[in-house]
Amino acid sequence: MKVALFDYGAGNLHSLGKALERGGAAVEVTSNWDRALGADALVLPGVGAFSAAAEALPADRTRVREALESGLPCLGICLGMQLFFDGSDEGEGVGIGLIPGRVRKLDAPVVPHMGWNDVHGAADPLFAGLGGGLAGYYAHSYNCDPDDKSVVIGWTEYAGARIAAAVRYRRSWGVQFHPEKSSRAGLRLVANFLEEVKP
């Protein structure tokens, strides 16, 4: 299965690329949207800031949104998940607009939310074999606030509040934590995504 790993030009894709390869994917790192949308699945990694990544989106957002809505499987990680939404408190720029809602600054005494935290997963293939969740590695200062909470398939508690750890809309999954940094459990989650979406 050919998986496009989108490169916003911001940072480290090595671990994520290897995690996908371990799950059986043939990974192509690309900054070209024709190639990204032509793969069997698209992965939006979690590196950099919202504005810079939003700039890397095609001027015509509907192109990406329609591809995802019509069934191109996608896994968005951290910032990649945030790009599913309309906009972010972090800075200017317009996201893909796949899921109505906004990315908001975390309201907590200690920000960034950095380290390992428990993800309580719903019954979704993404969490197969993980016993209802996992300890995920987080490193973020903003989190997703979907208008319709029913898209949330995983929650994490932080500073007395619940944050959306994972969302799903059709064949697109977003996770706020970094599965590629969440050791064996994270690798399993990546493999689960690939297993679920393989042609």
Partner: protein, 267 residues
């Protein structure tokens, strides 16, 4: 439930190899960082730190290659310290596969490096490394005895109050404080819990306690009394005195909610 207190394993690397011994002389080659890092992940380490002590330019080039090779087999976060002299060094390390970079000397010389790094890459990947030693009261420090910050591997005093400098560095963009007690480093008698707490109470970002780990109870003290988000361990692991698994088992027994890696995948 909230964040799991982290057990962080630090490897000193020079010219692409793990070394052990006194920082500047008597270094012994003890192995391949990539293999050791992967082994510590398997044992349950929550994060790996490479502290590069290469003196030469060639050694620093080796660091990028090492980080690249590590990122391909390591699936827990990797922090790299010692390789950043200026802002331009940050990008290549992150692109090579570091999740965070830590800076000490370069940030003291030019604090705007923290702001620039955070703006371009996000606070979550900029760690301020503070090497602190206790100092007697002196004029200008009305709060009495405190800690002073040092650079160049603990050899050069800055005159800065360590707690205030940590707070300043965080204001400027650092998203985490790696706090090493020079007095305790290598002594294995426990972290400087007072120092750790003083900084943790002062900054709104996670604090990693470092310097002094001798046994599991020291990590407990750093988490509970020092309010540390993470505790760094090095020598006692490399010398084979204990394992990450044994440390975590003891911590779990004391009710510390560390991430567990046994019994399936869910913690």
């Amino acid at each position: 439930m909230s964040l799991h207190p982290r057990v962080v394993v630090c490897l000193d690397v020079r010219d692409g190899r793990v070394v052990k011994g006194t920082r500047f002389d008597g270094l012994r080659d003890v192995g391949d960082p990539v293999k050791l890092a992967a082994r510590y992940e398997a044992e349950g380490a929550d994060e790996i730190v490479y502290l590069d002590i290469s003196a030469s330019k060639e050694g620093r080039g080796t660091l990028l290659d090492l980080v690249r090779r590590t990122a391909e087999v390591l699936f827990v976060p990797l922090t790299v310290g010692g390789g950043v002299r200026e802002a331009a060094d940050i990008g290549p390390l992150l692109r090579a596969g570091a999740d965070k970079i830590s800076v000490n000397t370069a940030a003291v010389s030019d604090p705007s490096l923290l702001t620039e790094g955070a703006r371009r890459f996000g606070s979550q990947c900029i760690v301020i490394s503070v090497d602190a030693a206790r100092s007697p009261a002196s004029p200008g420090f009305a709060r009495g005895p405190g800690w002073r910050a040092f650079t160049h591997g603990g050899s050069v005093p800055t005159g800065l109050d360590a707690v205030e400098w940590a707070a300043e560095a965080v204001r400027r963009g650092a998203g985490e404080v790696l706090l090493t007690s020079i007095d305790r480093d290598g002594v294995r008698g426990g972290y400087d819990v007072e120092l750790t707490r003083a900084v943790a109470e002062r900054v709104p970002v996670p604090v990693v306690a470092s310097g002094g780990a001798g046994e599991a109870i020291h990590l407990r003290d750093a988490f509970v009394d020092g309010m540390a988000s993470a505790a760094l361990v090095a020598g006692i692991l490399h010398d084979g005195l204990t394992t990450v698994g044994a440390l975590k088992a003891a911590l779990t027994g004391w009710g510390i909610d560390v991430r567990r890696t046994t019994a399936g995948v869910a913690a």
